[in-house]
Subunit: 545 residues, 2 copies
């Protein structure tokens, strides 16, 4: 039985019809305890979802849906190391990466010795590098680290590195290169000294096209600059589940850090994929981040659904997507240090749950993952918020902010927060005709002018949002935050009945690209390709030659 | 009569029903001339929209809709300087900003003398600065320029500055600050020398909250570092339609550059708002950019609808949004230098057309602007493309790339382009069951394994996209590109019957923020606010104190 045929689903549908478009104004007016009952706290995090278009009754019905979908069973199966990533035959054990101690998942199949040993090796290397005791060409200390990776081997550490830049090493430069486009790597190389630069090549298979192109270009650059004296062992580290390939490339065996098939790329920030991040912020802060995530894991496994942050966040998404018809979800950080957070979530959510086939292989007839998008909120106010306020589309928003600033300037932070709170309030409550009229009448306009302007200045409101407020962007809170979203995605996947841990949708493009590449150089090879690709290649060749 | 009640709309609806979900595979198979007839070129730009789910017949019907909506009349009214921005009583004349000569819009109301005079003043100042002849503290030449502005006073020049960074001044640093968050400005200030830094404060009203906060912080920083010897005239320029306010702030009168009420912020890149960009790339390249835009203006005014790039692009958007039911539009640049292009388009499109009230004030019962979102394409492949390929949602995509790279590395560009072309082909044509089976059978799997994997590896295809391929990111092509999207937005606004040039939706949030700000400091002032805002403020105060 698909989930949409369940009694739980039907009950929500019935509730939704009765509920209709009840306005957030009325929901607030009707329940003085609303904010209290629709707010959760966890350590340093406040999660206020009172401005979602739901009530505690809705939440109860949604929790029943989660029970119907056996979310707890799936959770325990994940934590028990079962191969819930069926299509790839793999366990899903990223939670191991943030555990303090083992055995885990159990004493028969215990991954913790490997995890802890790797964490310790990373810490030794990171400390040595941070202390200026890791040496490049002719014994000069390494001053710049370039992480070469893409997708999960880039977004996680890069996002967290930006989030924690205020505590990053004062001298070492840590950079990220992902794109195949030379326009990312070439200008960066111009700013680096090859004698004191270390590249970390992060690729599970050590065959990722973009990563290997960039790694080869890095090696060529080192060779061109350091000549025969290049000792590539001094300039490369690697993160891979294929250590032999890394060694063959020229990485010293003791600088190859393992990753395992039970870690998905988009869940790998906690592993050696986070090495560049650990180098930037230090092993101690990295460990605090792991502890924050571990606390969230524990909360997720033990808290009742209605008080369980990842579960509640997931259920709100299900409600907005499958019952209120939202097709997107905006993520709006009010903190410059979180500027890569929307991109990170795009991968986490859309690569995990952007699927339309069930874990068992049946085509689904209901919506799954929405489009996740967003920008820094304060900038967005002057860009696309017009549409959120008056565009007539339902766009659930996640506001994310920290109370304390890592870069305080007088008065800025208070003004920033008041903007953040004001936007969610304006989206929720709007401004109705009577209010607009009263306001226009104060502007000494003629009745005709008032009548003309009135409709343009009404705000329908009822745009749903949550606010996730942290005391500060400390490593622990950030660890909790990311684990929260990871588990949210897991719960949604379980309810939608999909495998959140494979990504077959990335395969076809790669296969087609390998057919097109030779045809860039040789027109004859373009002939079997579709007419549009042929046209694009003809234009390309004409322009290159 | 609303446009949805027109015969043209009905004809498209009928066509849409007959057309149903005809697959792009069949459309390509059925018409060998398809690519030729669904590709347009303009100077250095190729626009291939053959992978949109339409035919020349569809395009003809959509062009009839544009005629029904009197798009040509609206265009001529705009170019004639009529006050088509009715709700604000303003003309819409950003096209003037890129004209070579006047009179324009006509000899009675000719804005060109002001436009050309300002352009010349900008060029003189930019050249002086670029030549090291603009002096800061104690006659030291200015080395860094910081543009302080937000929204339209930030995104346009910043985006274009990144796009043309390969030709930017080799020594001068040009930076952009927009966010109220101190975490943007404070770390930047740490890298600057107050003696040799010039701030450009760009705000039409010179009252924009974020911009004035940052401008005041800049002045405080200069004072704290240069003390009584500060001569603020040496460190500030301004762009504003309120020159007196800028002078009062401390800007030298001859460094206040005007902007006029007939330029909307999101269309102002071509004006003095582009000063920081002109400083970066030089007046000559800036002028080439204007010429590219001017050529697009001319094309837009004169080309028949079916061969008119902005019109065709607009009609495709209408088709996807109003007839195929797409609610978003992904913008996917395959060029690192275009990384801010999606953010720029978010403002241009969503602030212009994210409205649900007609220009005459009636509530609309059809969809208008979709959510515009996107990321660099190559990175996106390893992040959210999973959803585009297998998520079951229709997501029209704009692929944007340049054939030549400004930062060529051996082989990278060809591989990048083949990825770009491959993704659009894979999205369009997919991989059907038979093809997947054939491919799986080569992998020596058991029949059960094949049966299990098969559904996960099917790609439905039929995901619509266009590819905009430029020979290179030269200033002229970039000018044409932006003007193309500007006019696309205009045409869509005309068809949807909305005013694309006001933005009342940004007002309410500002008003609410001004109520909340004092309550951050004083709990008593929070009492009249809604319960959620009160809760957020209580958490905030507890954490700050």
């Amino acid at each position: 039985m698909t989930i949409t045929a369940s009694p739980a689903w039907a009950a929500i549908n019935a509730h939704r019809q009765a509920f209709a478009n009840t306005h957030l104004r009325d929901l607030f007016a009707g329940d003085p305890k609303r904010v209290e009952s629709l707010t959760l706290t966890f350590d340093d995090i406040l999660y206020d979802f009172s401005k979602q278009r739901l009530t505690t009754e809705t939440l109860g019905l949604l929790a029943a849906l989660a029970r119907e979908a056996r979310v707890s069973d799936w959770t325990e199966r994940m934590f028990a190391g079962e191969r819930i990533n069926i299509s790839e035959g793999r366990s899903v054990l990223h939670a191991a990466l943030r555990r303090s101690a083992g055995p885990f998942p159990n004493s028969q199949f215990d991954v913790m010795p490997d995890v802890i040993a790797t964490r310790q090796r990373m810490a030794v290397f990171a400390d040595r590098l941070r202390d200026g005791k890791c040496f490049g060409h002719k014994g000069m200390p390494i001053r710049d680290v370039v992480n070469i990776g893409i997708g999960g081997s880039d977004l996680g550490p890069k996002m967290m590195g930006q989030a924690m830049r205020s505590i990053s090493h004062p001298v070492l430069g840590v950079h990220y290169v992902s794109n195949l486009d030379g326009a990312q790597m070439a200008p960066l190389l111009q700013t680096l000294d090859p004698r004191t630069t270390l590249f970390i090549v992060a690729s599970k298979t050590f065959t990722t096209q973009e990563t290997m192109f960039n790694a080869n270009t890095a090696r060529d650059w080192l060779r061109a600059n350091l000549g025969d004296e290049l000792v590539s062992e001094n300039h490369f580290a690697a993160v891979s589940s294929k250590p032999e390939r890394a060694v063959e490339f020229g990485v010293s065996r003791d600088l190859v850090f393992p990753i395992w098939d039970w870690v998905g790329g988009r869940y790998s920030l906690w592993s050696a994929v986070g090495l560049a991040l650990m180098i930037a912020i230090g092993p101690h802060a990295f460990d605090e981040m792991l502890r924050g995530a571990e606390r969230m894991d524990e909360h997720f496994r033990t808290a009742p659904f209605e008080r369980n942050l990842p579960v509640v966040m997931a259920l709100i998404g299900i409600w907005n997507t499958n019952f209120l018809g939202a097709s997107t979800n905006a993520v709006l950080p009010y903190n410059e240090s979180l500027k890569y957070f929307p991109s990170f979530l795009q991968q986490l959510e859309m690569e995990s749950n952007g699927k339309s086939v069930s874990i068992g292989g049946e085509a689904l007839d209901y919506s799954t993952c929405p489009i996740v998008w967003g920008e820094l909120g304060n900038n967005g106010q002057h860009a696309f918020f017009q549409l959120l306020h008056q565009g007539g589309r339902i766009v659930p928003c996640d506001f994310v902010a920290s109370v304390r600033s890592d870069y305080p300037l007088p008065k800025h932070q208070e003004a920033l927060l008041s903007n953040c709170f004001a936007q969610s309030a304006a989206l929720a409550f709007g401004r109705n005709e009577g209010e607009v009229r009263a306001s226009l009448e104060k502007e000494s306009l003629s009745p005709k002018e008032i009548a003309d302007l009135l409709p343009h200045r009404i705000f329908a409101g009822n745009q749903p949002s949550s606010t996730l407020l942290m005391t500060s962007l400390n490593p622990g809170a950030l660890g909790s935050l990311i684990a929260l979203y990871e588990h949210k995605v897991f719960v949604q996947g379980a309810i939608w009945g999909i495998n959140s841990f494979d990504q077959w949708g990335v395969e076809l493009g790669k296969a087609v690209a390998s057919l097109i590449l030779p045809a860039v150089y040789d027109a004859d090879l373009a002939k079997p390709l579709d007419a549009s690709t042929q046209g694009l290649l003809t234009f390309t060749r004409k322009c290159i030659s």
